[in-house]
């Protein structure tokens, strides 16, 4: 039998080297980790510095590209409460539109998967809706839904739902045949096949769609504010632009980007929280 422990000396030597290795590589690891943590910020700050220098040294006029300093300046010229009003208006519409489009897209995708007939008839309609510029149907929407949140949410939905439908249907169709056979061999009701096999299998696809949709939801809210609004960041940006307050418009853009990043990250967090298995494993 060879189940003999290694000789003591041999046991110590590698352990020591093992330890020292751990410490050395630990420090390295730590640096690497910190690097990863701060890299985005460092990158962001250098980008800002670059931007500022281009504007200053290149004498770039403000109406083409305002410098970060002028944007910050413009930022503080608007009162905090006004910012909050605009922010909330946009965030509200974007989130509502996003949620409504999830509520529409998932059942729609299921229907499209389950019926070849629906697939062939409804899908083209979806493509048409997706490619219709909102401005062209703005009068229709406003006459039907008024100039309130309802129209804006509808417009956001129209812009947001498509990536979700495409990725959900793709994901559900990609479900391995074996898992479908498992379900068939149980003669389970179709809705359970859908909910317990196809949908979980499609989760990575769905979240890929959600990531695209959430950023489109912001765009949708902004476009909706172009169509009808008294407040909101999109309104604010367009308004500032039309009065040539370009730094102020860019200050609005900064807010918009911040919400986008936050919501985009949130989608990831939700996936990591609810469906940790659906994320690729880190080595």
């Amino acid at each position: 039998m060879n189940h003999t422990p290694a000789p003591k000396a041999a046991l110590h030597a590698p352990q020591q080297s093992h330890n020292s290795k751990t410490t050395a590589s630990g420090v390295k690891q730590w640096f690497k980790k910190q690097g990863y943590r701060f890299a985005p910020w460092l990158f962001f700050i250098s980008l800002l510095i670059l931007w500022e220098s281009i504007c200053r040294l290149g004498h770039v006029p403000t109406y083409i590209l305002p410098s970060p300093s002028s944007i910050i300046n413009a930022f503080f010229n608007v009162s905090f409460s006004r910012w909050m009003v605009h922010l909330w208006a946009t965030l509200r519409v974007a989130l509502l539109g996003f949620i409504v489009s999830i509520l529409i897209s998932i059942p729609l995708s299921i229907a499209l998967i389950r019926s070849e007939l629906l697939n062939r008839t409804i899908y083209p309609v979806l493509v048409v809706i997706q490619s219709t510029p909102v401005v062209a149907v703005a009068p229709l929407i406003i006459v039907l839904m008024g100039t309130g949140d309802a129209s804006r949410v509808l417009i956001t939905c129209l812009i947001t739902f498509f990536p979700l439908v495409v990725s959900t249907t793709t994901g559900m169709l990609e479900t391995p045949q074996e898992l479908i056979e498992l379900s068939q061999s149980l003669r389970a009701p179709r809705y359970r096949e859908t909910w317990q096999i196809r949908i979980p299998y499609a989760i990575p696809h769905i979240f890929s769609g959600l990531r695209v949709s959430i950023t489109l939801a912001i765009i949708g809210a902004v476009v909706a504010e172009f169509v009808a609004a008294e407040q909101g960041l999109g309104y604010f940006i367009q308004f500032s632009t039309s009065f040539f307050k370009i730094p102020q418009a860019f200050a609005g853009l900064v807010f918009l980007s911040a919400i986008s990043l936050l919501l985009f990250k949130s989608v990831h967090w939700i996936q990591a929280w609810l469906f940790p298995w659906s994320l690729p494993k880190k080595k």
Binding site: E181, L182, Q184, S185, L186, R187, Q196, I197
Partner: protein
């Protein structure tokens, strides 16, 4: 466990009279699963090659039939046709005189690949068919799941994800999943192939116990001749692709069987016969 029960398995008697399948066919109306000149061709073109052909086989209620044959001869295809997952392009499979035209829900399948759901823990994977079929699982089911997991040595892995298991463990999960359903027909496609000799033997005997206590019709694909002899009432020996019936062998060893039976002359005779078929020139090109 009540060892004496095993002899009363209804299949045994039936099988005893069934020496020549071809001539007896018309006189066995109580056949449970019946295959009549079954054949299948995956290729949709008119003259595509057959994967299996001319399979005539009657399996009786609560009989344990093993299938052996060269790789690629159509064993899995046959099993999928019995399950209704595949509709034969020739002939007909029927269960209790009703042709199989769609997936059946009274079968439990152990697939050749484990086919576990990657997003469920081992325990949930095992309970999945019940949940999926009936919408809920009872406490009773959960208890039985625990028992079966313990039996297969997986108790401490109940809360792991499938990708944290070794290949053999995944296969065992697949077996437990099918057994838990307690189906009328149990279809097992090389269920023990990734298991070591001891585990294999143990689970084989466990399977026989379960089969005795909850009689069911079993179609069991294996590459181990001794395993086939040890477990089955009859053994279907298939020829190389396109697979046909080469022989149908009655085992006729008394039950309950133990590891000691493997030393009996009848056992050696049978394994030799089957080995002979497999190593015979006509079984392979």
């Amino acid at each position: 466990m009540n060892v004496m029960n095993a002899f009363s398995t209804p299949s045994i008697e039936n099988v005893a009279h069934n020496d020549d399948q071809a001539t007896q066919k018309e006189t066995t109306p109580n056949a449970y699963v019946r295959m009549e000149d079954v054949g299948h061709c995956y290729d949709p073109t008119p003259d595509g090659p057959m994967a299996v052909q001319h399979i005539n086989l009657d399996i009786y209620r609560h009989e344990f039939v093993a299938v052996v044959g060269p790789s690629g001869c159509g064993k899995s295809t046959l099993l999928r046709m019995v399950a209704g997952l595949l509709i034969p392009s020739h002939g007909e499979v029927s269960v209790f005189n009703k042709p199989v035209t769609e997936p059946r829900d009274d079968v439990g399948i152990v697939f050749q690949k484990p086919n576990l759901l990657p997003w469920l823990t081992v325990k949930k994977n095992v309970l999945f068919p019940l949940k999926h079929k009936y919408g809920h699982v009872s406490l009773e089911d959960k208890k039985r799941a625990d028992e079966l997991l313990t039996m297969t040595g997986l108790a401490s892995f109940a809360d792991k994800m499938p990708d944290e298991l070794s290949g053999g463990m995944q296969q065992r999960v697949g077996i437990v999943r099918a057994l838990l359903l307690n189906p009328d027909i149990l279809l097992m496609d090389e269920p023990f192939s990734a298991l070591d000799a001891l585990t294999r033997e143990q689970i084989g005997f466990d399977l026989l116990d379960i089969w005795r206590d909850h009689p069911k019709t079993v179609l069991f694909i294996t590459h181990s001749i001794s395993e086939a002899v040890l477990l089955a009432d009859r053994i279907l020996v298939m020829s190389k692709r396109p697979g046909t019936v080469l022989d149908l062998i009655d085992v006729n060893l008394p039950r309950p069987r133990t590891a000691k039976d493997m030393n009996s002359t009848r056992f050696c005779e049978l394994t030799e016969t089957i080995r002979g078929h497999i190593y015979e020139p006509h079984s392979r090109a």
